[in-house]
Symmetry: C2
Amino acid sequence: MSLITVGTVAFDKIETPFGKTDKVIGGAATYISLAANYFTKNVKLISVVGGDFPKDVLANMRGRGIALDGLEIKQDEKSFFWSGKYHYDLNSRDTLVTELNVLADFQPVVPESYQDCEYLMLGNLDPNVQMSVIKQLKKRPKLVVLDTMNFWMDVALEPLKEVIAKVDMITVNDEEARQLTGEHSLIKAAAKIMEMGPRFVIIKKGEHGALLFEKDKVFFAPALPLEEVVDPTGAGDTFAGGLIGYIAHTGEITFDNLKRAVIIGSAMASFTCEKFGTERLLQISEKDIDRRIQKFVDLVDFDILLVE
Amino acid sequence: MSLITVGTVAFDKIETPFGKTDKVIGGAATYISLAANYFTKNVKLISVVGGDFPKDVLANMRGRGIALDGLEIKQDEKSFFWSGKYHYDLNSRDTLVTELNVLADFQPVVPESYQDCEYLMLGNLDPNVQMSVIKQLKKRPKLVVLDTMNFWMDVALEPLKEVIAKVDMITVNDEEARQLTGEHSLIKAAAKIMEMGPRFVIIKKGEHGALLFEKDKVFFAPALPLEEVVDPTGAGDTFAGGLIGYIAHTGEITFDNLKRAVIIGSAMASFTCEKFGTERLLQISEKDIDRRIQKFVDLVDFDILLVE
């Protein structure tokens, strides 16, 4: 049950009200792969980095069993770099620096060894790159999941719509769902997105949890209230990684199993928020994950008798 | 198991992006009493109105079994009037008009027939009025719940803190919890509020649900995603009414039962949002309530096996 993850592998420099970092390892595909890897041992990455990207980080990923045959290394160029500063409430941020570098003319190549893939996670990237990966796959995967963001709605809406029409599931945040559909109600927005193609829609609400939709069914997964959110960077990617990793592990594409997958994604995302960058995500044990999932179970657990 | 509700009974004039009203019936005690009345038939109201308040509305409340002995009618004065306009996202609003009228020098009087009260719901009002009701009760109720808002933190923080020290449970929204404690993390904010007195803290997050805290326990109740929120006015009061009404009905002050009460409050609040003012709240049947509660059960229901 192999899983391809596509997205950036990059450097981030992050400032929050609680601290700041120098350049740390980031990128959507990094978070997705690391999170998914806790659930499925057959993760295959597609991305691009420059000669400046640390070899030990790649060795660590390889050591975890993440295949890097699809990771292009452009020795004479620099890796993608993003720097951002979060506002007080951590729900919004300003981008300070975006250096595309190797990403500027990225042409993804799907290696032959990836052609057996059953699950495809398209991390946030130029929709043309996402489409290129879909088109290179000789056999359509069992499930294709798309993550994207408002930036692509602003600058590449038509290519984005073409990708949306080809995927089984999309993850966007609440504001993006509204921007994409012109609907304020998330119920209506989800319905409109389903009309655009995807069978499943996930709307992420950050610290307010996530909604999963299929037809007229809706499931709500809370976010765990944390004592301290240190850095939300990568939380959405980690969510996607836990989600697709769990689906690939279980192989069951039903609403009930996707509910579990959304909880797993939320649990994994809660770890990422606890430290800067990928630091926490690199450290967790299966016991940590079990304990965290139990917290989600307890958080929303109630039994009720209907009013007689 | 009688329940005293204290708060405004008033006129509102409301504008949302989806429509506007003329003067309609509103007020915290109105919403609380109507919602609680679906669960406990022994609701006793304390408030004040002017001679302009419609007699048929009072007759309707009395007809539902809500005792109005504690409702003062100042024939020559006007009822409290509030007018507000909601922003696009319905999460924030501007107050256009506040006419205190009868509220300006309101001195609540607890009638002798109310002295058997076991539950006391202090709706949003001047903390001095809330304290006066607490002090007039000869026997301390089994449970005293306080609702308040940022306005009183701005203009009457010390009297408010004195009331907070005397209650068992407080309901505030997320921004109010942060303002009251100076803590951004809601976990930390809740812990600080518990140190101020209340055993239970409920933090309301509007369309994002509500959190219930007792010591180190936390429960999250989602808000139901609605296709159309017409008017959120009174949703917080309705929440409090459903909550306290259910507690008074069941008489069980345990964390498990309060979890149910928070779900009931959330279900009742979701009705209020569907039409302007109290219109929807006046119409619902027990069957409607049961169906709505079932939606909450389904919304967060999942079963998960921990990672082996």
